[in-house]
């Protein structure tokens, strides 16, 4: 069985979810979105899946649409949370895991979703952080991802602007800020997979078509590498099949630069 990198990437995001977790993704996050549905259909049937901008609970959409609040995304859900019901749950600590990305991410897992070059006069103004500025403080675990590690401009030594908080900001650690959430525990990029050791990103897995030196060169902060660094476990055939079935249009591919979509693998 041949499969493409976007499919594998989704599998790796799904693997950050533990069964039984209450899990949420933001809008503009098709890879995380597909990953959550994948996890629910495979290793995490008892997770509670909260569908991004719909706040629908455990829906079974016929396909993933290109926008986060299409009605297809509440198919099969008997209940949708109100907007404030979700945010209250996230703030009081009832959400176990949330997926977050950023145009810049530092070693502590802080993320910039606001502007390259900082504010108020940005070099590049991007969309904005949605609700992350508050809920990154209180959600129990964060799964961070990037599909732009290779550019060398994503994993930075310091974000130009911190939209979502990681393990520590210049203003202090999570404990010092009084933040009740646990912060990022996984970061998945198109080059490798990091956990967080003493609050700092540490490379744990690397994709088989990537060299450590290449990954290091693309990382602006000092690369910390786990003693047991290994290659990423290959996906299972059923996982790849589910990805294709869940996302028949291939909306997940919108997150990747063309060269990443050329990466193919066999099982």
């Amino acid at each position: 069985m041949k499969f493409t990198f976007d499919e594998w990437f989704v599998v790796e995001l799904a693997r950050t979810i533990r069964d039984g977790e209450v899990t949420f993704h933001g809008f503009a996050s098709p890879c995380a979105q597909v990953a959550m549905h994948l996890a629910k259909r495979t290793h995490a049937p008892n997770m509670m899946l909260i569908e991004g901008a719909m706040y629908a609970v455990n829906p079974t959409p016929a396909f993933i649409p290109p926008t986060g609040n299409d009605a297809v995304l509440k198919q099969g859900a008997v209940y949708s949370m109100r907007f404030e019901e979700f945010f209250d749950a996230a703030v009081r600590g009832d959400i176990d895991r949330m997926f977050l990305s950023g145009i810049q991410i530092d070693r502590y897992g802080n993320a910039n979703l606001t502007a390259v070059g900082g504010m108020p006069r940005p070099k590049v103004k991007i969309g904005g952080g949605g609700g992350g500025c508050n809920v990154s403080a209180t959600v129990r675990h964060l799964s961070i991802w990037s599909t732009n590690h290779r550019t060398g401009r994503c994993l930075v030594s310091a974000c130009d602007f911190i939209t979502d908080v990681g393990h520590r900001t210049p203003a202090g650690t999570r404990a010092e800020l009084g933040y009740t959430g646990g912060g990022p525990d996984w970061m998945v990029t198109e080059l490798g997979i990091f956990d967080f050791h003493e609050g700092r990103a540490r490379l744990r897995r690397i994709f088989p078509d990537v060299a450590v030196e290449e990954l290091e060169a693309a990382t602006a902060f000092d690369l910390e590498v786990a003693a047991d660094l290994t290659e990423v476990d290959p996906p299972e055939r059923s996982q790849i099949e589910w990805v294709r079935k869940l996302d028949p249009i291939g909306i997940r591919r919108n997150e990747f630069r063309p060269q990443e979509l050329q990466r193919t693998f066999g099982l």
Binding site: M54, M119, K125, G127, A137, F161, I162, D164
Partner: protein
Amino acid sequence: MAFHLDADKLTDLNSAARLVPSGGLVALGGSLSARLPMALVRELIRLETAELHVVGSAHSIDVDLLVAAGAIKVCEQSYVGFEQDHGLAPAFRRAAQNGELEVRESCCDTVLTQIRAAEMGLPFLPVRGVKGTGIRELHPEYGEVTCPFTGETLVAVPALSPDVALIHAPMGDRAGNLHLEQPYVLDERFAAGSAAVVATVDRIVSTQEVAEAGIVIPAYRVAAVVEAPFGAHPTSAFPGYAYDRAHIAEWVRAAGTPQGAAAYLEQYVMSTDEAGYREMIGEQRMAQLRGYSDSTESWMSLYS
């Protein structure tokens, strides 16, 4: 009296849009590509409304058109863009980078909290996060409050009560009772925390029909209601119609340059009215968008 008790609030789009003052604080209902109040947005542009302070959660073409038309002074949203589909909002991005727009970027939960304070009649409320972020520095108007019980210091945000909330609903009655499908996003809170709602609906129906569907925003919060078929186009208004991905792509392409944005605005807004706008979109396209629910294939075909 702050409640709006008139039995009949049905009016025309022009009169309704005139209830939005230049310089006013305006809440935008809906989010992303769903239920944005586009007919009102277009009419505000025709009226050359200016200096608006807009607030909302995650928005797209509503804000981008208003920015392109020079109608916005302060943008206090958590996100403006076209997700991974069409990416950055061209007019918004350009204006922010040129310093022509004050981007007072916020967070969905902070906006919620500020509106709730207004709704609850409180001058402030605390938020859990924000400390340690750049968002905190963008908002010198935020303060701090110390919990009298735990001693912890939290960021305090002031009540934010919009002059008007612009809300599009698939159906409503002449009194202003509105039915929405979920997600309601901030629309319920905007309705309660704003001085008035100005609403467009795809269909004016009987009170009985809106009550059976479920009244989400009650008449007494609504100052004016306008029948504006396809009034959320090119965004969706389920269960009526899906969003028009091709039309949004047309905007994003056009708005890549100031000239292109101006040409779009001239064609679809300034030179026409809503009836003319619907003619330009065309009955065939509108039928496709309404037909999303015929089958999974017809729905997917809108996006493939």
